[in-house]
Structures are given as C-alpha cells and as structure tokens.
C-alpha cells in the first residue's frame, strides 16, 4: 500500500474537530478493545489531530505531528510506531527468522513462513480472513510489519501454501520514514 508514497501524494491537510476526535477515539476502541485503558494517553484531549488525505483514498491521522494510524476504507489501521508503543492490543502473528529479510523489503508473507518452527500462529479459532494483524518476528520484541490476512489462520495451518498475509505497512517503507515537514 505504501510502496510509493511521498509528499506529492498528499491532497489536503486539515485539523480534526474535537467532536470528530471523540468519535474517532470510540471507533478505535471499538476496533481494538484492549486500547481502552491507554487511549487517553495515546490521544490526549488537548492534542492536535490532523487528517491528511492522500492519493488512492488513503487517509492518515497524525497526533501532534506523528502518524498514528491510517485508513483505507472503513478500517483504522495503526501505524508501526503506535504498535510499538502498545503492542498488546492487536492480533499478532509471528514469522521465522528467514522471512524477516523479505518482509522488510515489502514482500507478502507466504504460509510456510508462518507455520515453521520459529513462527507462531494463534490457536484455534484464530483470526478471520481479512483481519488486520501485526507481524512479529522470531526472537524480536518489536513488530516489523502490519498486514491483512488473505486466509484465516486455520486455513494457513491446513493449506500451508501461497500467500498468507498481504503486507500493508512495514519497517523502512515510505510511511515509516514519512516526515510531516
């Protein structure tokens, strides 16, 4: 999604009203319930939220100049910096060490990378197809990418072939190094 992304893709920047800010917060909590205890810390009431509309109907939300989450259609997707701050709140999968290199260069994750010895998938029932997952790596503490499941985790286990996760955002992509000014 952010293979190519630069300042030229920004269409408009606008401040978010405090009423919309409230809805935004509740939406975020509805999507990731575990965020509730820290939401006021992530987005303080007095903070300066900006909505940046970009090419391809991508919308970024920045809080005090830092991109915290973005939106393609309806779903809010946290940015990696937000994930690093509070990683417990999101569904997570883990890839083995051999896959890190490819993930960091932006490749989709193949099923074997998610099922091998170093990798981890949640136990049944797992996550549904199309849900947003955080991708962690073997022996690492922090997440390295965010993706969308192309099949449910149970299917990944049983089929074990082909693309498992579509990568949305990863370490080192243009959004990661994106700077507002």
């Amino acid at each position: 999604m952010f293979k190519k992304f630069s300042k030229e893709d920004i269409h408009s920047r606008s401040k978010v009203k405090s009423s919309i800010q409230r809805t935004l917060k509740s939406k975020l909590v509805a999507q990731y319930p575990a965020l509730e205890p820290v939401i006021d810390e992530l987005i303080p009431k007095k903070s300066h939220i900006e909505l940046i509309k970009c090419e391809d109907k991508i919308q970024l939300y920045t809080v005090d100049g830092e991109v915290l989450f973005f939106q393609k259609f309806d779903e809010l997707i946290p940015s990696l910096r937000l994930v690093h701050k509070f990683p417990q709140a999101y569904p997570t999968v883990q890839v083995d060490r051999g896959a890190i290199k490819f993930v960091i260069s932006g490749a989709n994750i193949m099923c074997p990378g998610l099922t091998s010895a170093g990798a981890k998938l949640p136990d049944a029932p797992g996550y549904e197809k199309d849900s947003i997952v955080i991708i962690n790596a073997e022996n690492k503490d922090h997440a390295l990418a965010i993706g969308k499941l192309l099949m449910s985790t149970e299917n990944i286990k049983s089929i074990n072939k082909g693309h498992g996760v579509e990568l949305i955002h990863h370490l080192g992509d243009p959004l990661w190094s994106f700077n507002l000014d």
Binding site: P37, V38, E41, L42, R81, H84, K85, F86, P87, D96, R97, G98, I100, K101, I104, S116, A117, G118, E138, N139, K140, D141, H142, L144, L171, G172, W176, S177, D181
Partner: protein, 200 residues
C-alpha cells in the same frame, strides 16, 4: 503510571535496534548503539567481544531455521551490507564531486537577483532554505526551475556575500566542507584580473 512503551529507534537506520542487522548499515548502527545505549548493545550483541564493534558477524540469538538456512541468510545480509556500503560511498563521491553555483544576475540596471544551483544533491529542503533566506535577508525568495529543468533558489536583491557565507556554513554543518562552491559574479565594469584590494 504509563503503560506505554518507549521504543528506542536507531538513528542510523531508523529501525528498532534489534532489526539493525537487516538494514545493511549494521556497522554504523552498532557503533551508534555502542555509544548511546551501551546497555542495549550488550543485550543484543552480548556474544561478541567488545572490541569487535566493527566486526561484520551478525550472529544473534539462536534460531530455529536450521544451520544451512541461517548460513545463507547471513551471507545474504553480508551481501546487502556490502551493497549498502558501496551505495553510500558512491553517494558521498557524488556529493563531493558536485558543486554549488551561486550566481548574481542583473535584472534591470541597478537590481540583481542571486541564483543558487546544485543544492538538491545534499538533501537540503529547498523550500525551507528559501524561506530562511527570505527572512534572513528580508527579501523575496523562491524556488524555481531553470532552463535545464533543475531546481534553483532565486533570491531578490544583491545579497551574494551573505549567501556565500551561509552556504559554506551549511555545508560545513553537514560535514561536507570540501564541496566546491563557485561564485559567479557578473558585476559591471569590473576587470576579473584585478581584485578590489589591489586597485586601491
């Protein structure tokens, strides 16, 4: 009590330090980490003797992908690292070989503009610099494309001396003191063979 985690990011490659080995800049990352966060350094690279900061080996915690694949991965990472290093060197060479041209052009009889070319190689934000110049010299300043489709900064008014010192200072700050700065001054009725000091 805050439940949020503060994550240290490597200033060299911008990743969390544990991913530095995949950035291809490991050598510099390790050096940086060693200087700024020694505790993290020992945690991540504990199995290596301290004096081997510049060692290229990337053995980290044991992994499960098997020795053969681990070996291959290591080789690939080394390759990537070499590639990155070469790239950096090339870029540095390019920076050193390029030059900045500061030019004074006559607009009408007594009015001048100063044009600065060749700054884009140095990762300088032209628009921002133009803004600084505008406020520094209290004049109009803009970024525009010249005849060769290259960006240049145009400053209104005869401020060539101030610009020259500022550019020198800017380049020195970036550690690029050796970059050539060429000043082209098209002053009327001034012989290039005699400098103003000698004529007096």
């Amino acid at each position: 009590m805050s439940e949020l985690q503060e994550v240290v990011y490597c200033e060299v490659c911008s990743y969390p330090p544990e991913y530095c080995e995949f950035s291809g800049k490991l050598k510099r990352c390790k050096k940086w980490l060693h200087e700024t966060h020694p505790d993290l350094y020992t945690k991540l690279y504990a199995d290596q003797p301290e004096d081997e900061v510049n060692n290229l080996g990337t053995k980290l915690a044991e992994s499960s992908i098997g020795e053969e694949r681990e070996g291959k991965l290591e080789k690939d990472l080394l390759k990537l690292q070499r590639k990155e290093e070469n790239k950096e060197q090339r870029e540095l060479a390019k920076k050193l070989s390029s030059k900045v041209i500061i030019k004074r052009e006559a607009r009408t009889k007594r009015k001048f503009v100063v044009a600065i070319q060749g700054l884009e190689v140095f990762e300088i934000d032209m628009k921002k610099l133009a803004k600084t110049f505008a406020s520094k010299f209290a004049t109009g300043c803009s970024v525009s494309k010249n005849a060769e489709k290259k960006e240049e900064i145009i400053i209104q008014g005869d401020v060539i001396d101030g610009v020259e010192t500022y550019i020198h200072q800017l380049l020195a700050e970036k550690g690029l003191k050796d970059v050539k700065v060429e000043v082209i001054d098209t002053k009327k009725k001034k012989k290039p063979t005699t400098t103003p000091g000698e004529t007096k």
